[in-house]
């Protein structure tokens, strides 16, 4: 489409509504390759977008007559592309467009929904940008409002400059009308132009049409049209009727000098501001307003010359920010309180952000639960532990309602950890798998707390434990002497008990006798039930030996179990160690494991070379309750000072 050589910047009236667009257009025309690219001029019909496109082309051709300027509408571009595809002339199409040095495309909103044409335009823009050739587009609406615009094309346009052109205001309308009068050599009575300009039409072509009607009236009559007749003559125009009801605005001659000065300055600024720094600063400002830290981009601005890879750096920064957004969503999913955390706003803290997400996810997902190794069915019940087992079963059937907290004490090897884990499984099973049951050792709890302190995630860590339905803490004695951890345990127990959640703990000794335990925490256990797992008695030992010997090939089960049960043992580990020792002896002798092997091992005068006698544990200080007690289903309130008086059963 040929350029209209009469359409020039000099004929374009500049006002506040369009001066930024005019400045940007002039910058493109005067400094090709340095002005914004692509430049997209947006404005309603009739505000002068096409005029500016042609003015750019004319200004450039005036300086370089051989310049290949392509001025066309978007639908013409689409038509060319379709014809090329249909006629298998796509190579010629590409060759033609490869030669274009300036692209001026009008009405790009017409490409809405034409995906292939849009992608071809995008490709053309990218080719021209790579050669620093100017691209100026015009649209009747901002790209973001064009339905069906390909995101990639939209992003490309947004990365350039989008200059809005508003409807001309009164002063500009006066200037436009005066200019048209001059062009036509028409003379109008004083005030007529100003009166026409009072009609608030946003469309310059309509405004000119009104002028031409007045000129026609004047030409067809004997008298010049008077100012007071104008609105009556144009009474069929709704805007004219609206203006007839208004007061005429004061002429604004006082700002004309300043206005043209401003336009010239705008052109100078646009021409001389360094494009690459503007892009970097614009990107930085954009990210800053979105709340991101932009030191990396600000350091770029210190560079005296454009770094060769600054475009890549900008893209990289954008990619990093996108990654941070993804990390933030992941983190928030795990822990809503991490929304807006500082690390997700600073691309230079990516590693910290990743670590925080990992911790948040670990904290959210990996709440330690009971070990699958220890089941209730696998726990041997005998006289020495039946009280504790009954208490555990009672708790499992009514969590939070009966013995809460439940405190299981006993020397090592008596099955405290097994029973606590078994309780965890029972609680989970009873709830149909819905219950959140945490199983944590005192040491693990202390370690986690220290890590949370170090990472500044104590709040999240605390919240993590407060969402459990039951908390099982093994080896409470491991928090002894750790004051801050005990504070945390105290607060946690208080919150969970207050919420009716079940607590169960194990300890090597009664909390009352434990040294290094805070009194406040000690008092927290006084409303619960203490049960003891004692070292296994004869019948329990026999059960246990029978069970573990069952797995030894050729072992003489019954008499050997009875024989071994008559000997003292502290607990399951001791029993297993004895079986291993005897198995090794039997192997050396080349015989099956039997009572004879055991007698030889234990009763020969020659002492066993490697093993010291198994120490017999101190007599349990606490015997918490009796069968009768449980059968009566009485709620036990443990008063530590009276515990000794509760010893009802002596173990053999």
């Amino acid at each position: 489409m040929p350029l209209d050589s009469r359409t020039r910047f000099e004929h374009y009236e500049v006002g506040p509504a369009n001066f930024e667009a005019v400045s940007a257009a002039r910058a493109v025309a005067e400094s090709p390759g340095r002005g914004a690219s692509p430049l997209t001029l947006c404005g309603a019909t009739g505000v002068g977008k096409t005029h500016l496109l042609q003015a750019i082309g004319n200004a450039m051709v005036q300086r370089q007559p051989a310049l290949r300027v392509e001025f066309l509408t978007a639908d013409q571009f689409a038509k060319q592309l379709h014809e090329a595809v249909a006629g298998s002339d796509i190579d010629e199409f590409i060759r033609h467009w490869g030669r274009v040095e300036v692209l001026l495309m009008d009405d790009i909103q017409l490409l809405a929904g034409h995906r292939e044409t849009q992608l071809e335009l995008l490709r053309q823009i990218e080719v021209m940008q790579s050669m620093q050739r100017p691209v100026v587009l015009a649209s009747d609406r901002p790209p973001s409002e064009i339905a069906g615009l390909e995101p990639a094309l939209g992003e490309r346009l947004a990365a350039g400059k989008i200059a809005l052109i508003g409807p001309p205001e009164y002063e500009t309308r006066v200037a436009i009308l005066n200019a048209r009068c001059r062009e036509r050599g028409a003379q109008l009575a004083p005030g007529v132009v100003e009166e026409i300009a009072r009609i608030e039409t946003g469309n310059v072509r309509e405004l000119q049409g009104l002028l031409y009607r007045i000129l026609d009236f004047q030409a067809s009559g004997d008298e010049p049209v008077r100012a007071e007749d104008v609105l009556a003559l144009l009474d069929d125009v709704p805007e004219a009727r609206a203006a007839a009801g208004d007061q005429a605005p004061a002429p604004a001659t006082a700002t004309l000098d300043f206005q043209s000065f401003l336009t010239d300055i705008a052109s100078a600024v646009t021409a001389h501001v360094e494009g690459w720094k503007s892009r970097v600063a614009e990107a930085a400002a954009g990210w800053q307003s979105a709340g991101y830290r932009t030191q990396a981009l600000e350091r770029l601005l210190d560079e005296p010359a454009p770094p060769p890879n600054y475009e890549a750096l900008l893209r990289g920064f954008g990619a990093t920010v996108r990654k941070l957004k993804e990390l933030e969503s992941e983190a928030v999913e795990a822990d809503p309180s991490l929304s807006g955390h500082d690390v997700f706003r600073d691309p230079e803290r990516m590693r910290e952000a990743e670590a925080l997400v990992q911790r948040a996810r670990a904290a959210a997902v990996d709440l330690p639960g009971p070990s699958v190794e220890f089941s209730r069915a696998g726990f041997e019940v005998g006289k020495s532990n039946q009280l504790a087992v009954r208490a555990v079963d009672a708790v499992a059937s009514e969590p939070g309602k009966r013995y809460n907290p439940l405190i299981i004490i006993g020397p090592p090897g008596t099955g405290k950890t097994h029973l606590l884990n078994a309780l965890g499984h029972e609680l989970i099973n009873a709830s149909g798998g819905a219950a959140v049951v945490a199983f944590v050792t005192g040491q693990q709890f202390a370690d986690e707390f220290i890590a949370a302190l170090r990472d500044g995630t104590v709040t999240q860590w605390r919240r993590r434990y407060r969402r459990v339905d039951a908390l099982l803490m093994d080896d409470l004695q491991q928090v002894a002497g750790k004051e801050r951890t005990q504070d945390e345990v105290f607060e946690l127990f208080r919150d969970l008990l207050g919420a009716g959640k079940q607590l169960a703990i194990t300890a090597a000794q009664s909390p009352q006798d434990m040294t290094g335990l805070d009194d406040r925490l000690r008092a927290r256990f006084e409303g619960g039930l203490v049960v003891e797992l004692a070292a296994p008695d004869v019948s329990m030992r026999e059960q246990l030996y029978r069970r573990f010997l069952d797995g030894v090939p050729g072992a003489q089960l019954e008499p050997l179990a009875r024989y071994l049960a008559s000997r003292p043992a502290d607990g399951v580990p001791d029993i297993i160690a004895t079986i291993h020792r005897l198995s090794a002896t039997a192997d050396r002798m080349g015989v099956a494991l039997s009572v004879e092997v055991a007698r030889r091992e234990f009763e020969e005068p020659e002492p066993a070379p490697a093993r010291a006698p198994t120490p017999v544990g101190a007599a349990p200080a606490v015997r918490a309750a009796s069968d009768v007690f449980f059968l009566d289903d009485e709620k036990i309130v443990w008063e530590l000072r009276d515990v000794a008086s509760r010893v009802i059963e002596e173990l053999g």
């Binding site: 700002t255 300043f258 705008a266 720094k277 503007s278 400002a285 601005l301």
Partner: protein
């Protein structure tokens, strides 16, 4: 003073109107002040003696709005022309991005013009500034006076503008030439935006 701050997207130009006493520097600013819409001008600060000659300096801040995404502000200063305000002139000249030398076109003021022009160069040199590197335009003011009282722009150009900088004839009292001069110096100053050494963050 940074001319362009890419980080805050601000452009700030300090332009100093320099020249002999009563040459019309303050009149230039008054005209500009009168033309600028209310929302774009700050308060003009002008300290004057009872005889209306500038005692200290005038200061007119102009907000040109957002241009190409940059908040653009001009600060226009005048210096006292009288020779005995040397220290004030030096102070005001500090950090100037551009200088408008306002010459009095009256024939009898020629010596004062030349003396003030030399004074400008001396003061710039005192501040370690290469006068040739500072954007400068010359305005031949009072060209509206009777022909027999004034020198023509050609005569003045020969007498003062030995550097061949852009020059403008003006009638600051009534306005002609005032914005042309301001536009001239502004364009020279803004050209320096392209110079990396002048561009700050």
């Amino acid at each position: 003073m940074s001319l362009v701050n890419y980080a805050t997207r601000e452009i700030t130009c300090k332009i100093v109107y320099y020249g002999p006493g009563r040459s019309g520097k303050t009149t230039n600013l008054h005209h500009i002040y009168g033309q600028v819409p209310e929302d774009r001008k700050g308060k003009m600060v002008s300290l004057a003696t009872q005889t209306d000659r500038t005692l200290f300096f005038d200061f007119l801040p102009l907000d040109l709005g957002t241009i190409s995404g940059f908040t653009t502000k001009f600060q226009l200063y005048t210096v006292p022309g009288q020779v005995y305000y040397q220290s004030t002139r030096k102070l005001v000249l500090q950090g100037a991005d551009g200088v408008v030398f306002v010459a009095d076109s009256q024939r009898r003021q020629l010596d004062e013009n030349i003396e003030s022009f030399q004074d400008l160069h001396a003061n710039l040199a005192d501040q370690g500034v290469d006068a040739r590197a500072v954007p400068l335009v010359i305005q031949y003011n009072k060209q509206d006076l009777p022909r027999d009282l004034i020198m023509s722009t050609e005569e003045l150009r020969d007498a003062i503008n030995f550097r061949g900088v852009p020059d403008f004839s003006a009638d600051a009292l009534h306005g002609p030439g005032v914005f042309e001069t301001l536009r001239g110096i502004s364009e020279l100053v803004l050209k320096r935006l392209s110079s990396p050494s002048r561009a700050a963050r």
